[in-house]
Symmetry: C3
Subunit: 439 residues, 3 copies
């Protein structure tokens, strides 16, 4: 094990400020409001705008806020299940998403500027939020084993890769992926797994004392789960064609998640000796239906079709947590802290396959099986290659990664209240101070 310098005092602030200042400079040069005033003649020929944002620029705003809650509360709190890593989970989630959305908005719109300008609308804010989801998924795979500096670098590189793949798969190939099963979920999962593979830590082969939950940390995580569960229909429908297609995306996601939940609970109880439910399954596998229905959310697959997808996703995801994750860790050296392979990886692929099948069955116009398959392959390919390269960069020894024994522990990068660092002493002290009236 090499000697680590985990003091972030210079490297972290310098990196964060440079990233922010470069971003501001680029915004000064390129980004304007899409308010119909900045470039008058543009408003007319923007007939491809599917959301009538010109007539009501805030029509999508409630959808945006639902997605915003999923990104910052949903992903952030879902990862607070670890007993001593809650500050990092919700705190670094905020940091990475705050930087990621600024960077994503730039790169996503680089391909279609108007008069050399990027026009910001509520729709582009939704897409910017989406781009950060890839990073937050990958963050789950490496949670507890990476420094804030490493994570900022990963954000930069992953969002860049994501934007290239999305442009290729959706804009150029014309694949349909309204809820982004392929371009966000499978992409984010396999990117993160590739990073995790490169950063493999033999010293954590037998687990770590802090790699588990306590009672209240599991409840905090359920805040994340339930918000993701509730607002997933918004995620899958936010940028759908208004009208019937958007309604289908809402309805399909609603029923896929509901059916997935029953399947996840049933499977969780079935695979455990005493028939007990496992919080890890409930926190994650109940959401797999939202992931898996993403690609064909706006297609006419019927509510019952969505429910079938949801049931399959719930079962696969739970079985993955129970049986596949231990094998990945022991045999392939992939230490996937949050099990993103089970929540985003396999259900994302399932979503891609469902999209191919729906295309074969003609469930949406102008959607072709070959294109869908190419988009799925592209997403996984970019993810694995991009993730591996990113992993190699992150492995450089000067980014302040934590030594094995300090993994999954907030106190290496955060000031943590006394009682956590000196539990024994503080507990005694607390007893004393709380019982002043007693002898």
């Amino acid at each position: 094990m090499p000697a680590y310098s985990t003091n972030m005092r210079l490297k972290f602030p310098i990196l964060a400020l440079i990233l922010e200042l470069v971003t501001i400079l680029l915004y000064a040069l390129f980004v304007v409001y899409d308010d119909g005033e900045s470039s008058g003649h543009d408003a007319k020929d923007n007939s491809s705008d599917p959301h009538h944002e010109k007539s009501n620029p805030v029509a999508l705003y409630p959808m945006f806020q639902d997605v915003h809650v999923m990104i910052f509360i949903g992903f952030g709190f879902l990862m607070t299940f670890l007993k001593r890593y809650g500050f990092s989970s919700v705190g670094l989630n905020l940091l990475l998403a705050a930087f990621g959305l600024q960077w994503g908005l730039l790169l996503q719109n680089m391909w279609h500027m108007h008069d050399g300008k990027i026009m910001v609308s509520v729709g582009s804010m939704i897409n910017a939020d989406f781009s950060t989801a890839t990073v937050l998924i990958s963050f789950g795979a490496v949670l507890g084993k990476t420094s804030p500096v490493q994570l900022l670098i990963m954000t930069l590189l992953e969002i860049t890769t994501f934007c290239i793949n999305e442009h290729l798969a959706v804009t150029m190939l014309g694949a349909s992926d309204i809820g982004a099963s392929m371009t966000i979920h499978a992409f984010g999962a396999y990117f993160g797994l590739a990073v995790a593979r490169v950063l493999y830590r033999p010293g954590l082969r037998n687990g770590h004392d802090n790699e588990g939950s306590v009672y209240h940390s599991d409840l905090f995580a359920m805040i994340g789960t339930v918000y993701l569960w509730m607002f997933w229909p918004s995620f899958n429908s936010a940028i759908a064609e208004p009208g019937a297609a958007q309604l289908r995306a809402i309805v399909n996601t609603y029923f896929s998640l509901a059916a997935c939940t029953l399947a996840a609970y049933a499977t969780s109880s079935l695979v455990e000796g005493k028939g007990k439910l496992d919080m890890v399954h409930i926190q994650n596998a109940t959401l797999a239906g939202g992931v898996a229905v993403g690609t064909c959310a706006d297609m006419a697959i019927g509510p019952f079709g969505a429910m079938v997808i949801g049931v399959c996703a719930g079962i696969i995801s739970t079985l993955g947590f129970k049986f596949l994750s231990p094998i990945l860790a022991s045999s392939l050296g992939i230490q996937d802290t949050c099990g993103v392979h089970n929540l985003h990886g396999m259900p994302g692929i399932l979503g891609g396959l469902a999209g191919i099948l729906a295309a074969l069955l003609g469930k949406k116009e102008n959607v072709f099986p070959g294109t869908q398959a190419a988009a799925l392959a592209s997403s996984i390919g970019f993810a694995l290659v991009g993730g591996a390269i990113t992993g190699l960069i992150l492995k450089l020894p000067f980014w302040g990664q934590p030594p094995d024994q300090n993994c999954f522990d907030d106190s290496i990068y955060w000031e943590v209240p006394e009682e956590e660092e000196e539990a024994g002493e503080s507990l005694a002290h607390a007893d004393h101070s709380k019982n002043k009236s007693e002898p």
Copy 2:
């Protein structure tokens, strides 16, 4: 006390999967999108649709999401106040609501199919969510004393009963109950109380060690309280006639809750020896104003009328927790874990009575005192009879109900993190592992 088999390994997964598969089959046969495409000729004559959902099918979506948050975060976290029953509270809440909404959507729309099909819109999703509220209210009465299998059966039976009563009271009789004081709140409370009465446990006569809160569990519960409080105007107005009536429903609920809050705080302090506030009152009685203003939320009762209703509800509810609940438990054998009689039962009746009074005063057209009284009587009657029958079914000895000593304890149906099961040992262990650098 009979011998219990609380192992859920077979009975729970089998029941859950059968329910889900039957539901999917029924959806395959009957449920389609209400997207104006599934049955073209229907769109025209659907002139009774009050929400212009044809012109904008997602117009009600923000209201739906508010209701969704109330169901899954609001009810789920409100019940996490128990010190060792948080997993079940928020977890089983998710399970029951996920099944309930699928079942409720089927039964609610059975009465008015179009060409043999049920058309799913955002409006019907709101109503499906509503139907689950009845179960979640009843869940509060039996919280900690029932198995997941029993609760799934209760969900099936209660939503069925609810749909019959709602069809009778609202569609056939024509009663007005926009915020469902009678058909959801009073119904859910008395259904749950009837179940609780049948399942009376003499062994819990003197309470149970786990039937109380700890500091942080009370804070988790406040998440539920505050979300219910904030979004209650959406609950009471979501399916109101657009325009003036919907605005009245929003405004009346907003002011009823605000006034109720002052009354609940004042009463809580007044009835306690040292003038201290009691978290149980604050978590629940502050919401009674939302329940009680439900029936006449869309009527022209004036903001001050809504405030009077709120003050009465806040006082009655707090007094119920303080004085009535202990009597119900000791004299009538009704062990009401969350005190749903105080939050939903009495305020629901108050709401029904307020509706009769408002009808007498002519506060809404085509609303008649006799009809309102009949709807109130019907709701309570169906609840008591349906709840009693359900209770008898749940009392059958093979549903895995917990023995008395394991009530209010997650660990009987959930894998619970070590430290909770072996507090003493784990604490010592935690001290040790957290202080590696110390001798």
Copy 3:
């Protein structure tokens, strides 16, 4: 130290009920629905209504709910960081806001009645919620050191002062302050600091055992932080002119907060010896960008202009927590529990100054530097004078303020679960009860 009577049993209920009854009486006399029915001839000439609320009275409702969440969840949970003051933080936040919104709606609309009536719309509900924000900011300055009775009196007096200043600065002077950097944030902060100065407690000069966080209380506080962060674009845009101006307010706030977050994290790490992040900074300074961009949120300052404001606010706020707060406490006798000077005070002034600069640069029509400067001065002046007078009233010895040793402790005004009051005993007891099967 005088002898205190902290028993609230009579004084608190009497005050709360009198306030509520007087409010109901005033509502009965003056408040009606703005539903286009209450006063028919009024609907036509209300052409100054900027939100087309006549055509769709619930158009602003999603924005209102976002603001509502900020007030009740955001402010409420942000203050739960203290280890033993969570009940009061979220509970009294609910109480004060529930009373404040009723009082604020009356006073804000007193100036422009129609036929002697106040017309309630969703827009006026948003403004009523806004008025409570001033009190909740000031609450942060005196958190843990005041009784519920004192806080209700402060609510009454502060909202009254706020309405006078707002009417003067915005309606009469015509200053532009769409996100209320000056009239809410700076006002609320300096009002609270003036109260805190008058209520200075020499006995807390060296801190207090309970004036700190524990691990989970910091996570609860992050719920507040993240909700404020996410919905701040709604706060700054809710009452903006629909269309381009409202979009600008959303976009500017979104980017200001994102940039502010990077700056706050960088600064927090930079000023700490070991480069670690400090939860106090993260919980608060990440939000300063929302405060500081408030005044010019709807102006054409460009996304990059908003980001510059955000970065400045994040740096200033973090430095304030690190260096200025200790000086204010030790040299000026201002004990600012939550550091509202750093989150609302300085960023509020920064926002006012940015507004003056934007006016100089002509970023919005009919906005003048002199007017803006006058509004800033007026806001701070009213705050300091109003706060000082309020502080003197609150210092009267019969409002039940807590003695020094009971500050920052819920148990003086709340029933607190046993384990918190008798930690030592209860812990032993808990161990015992949880390990029944062990010897």
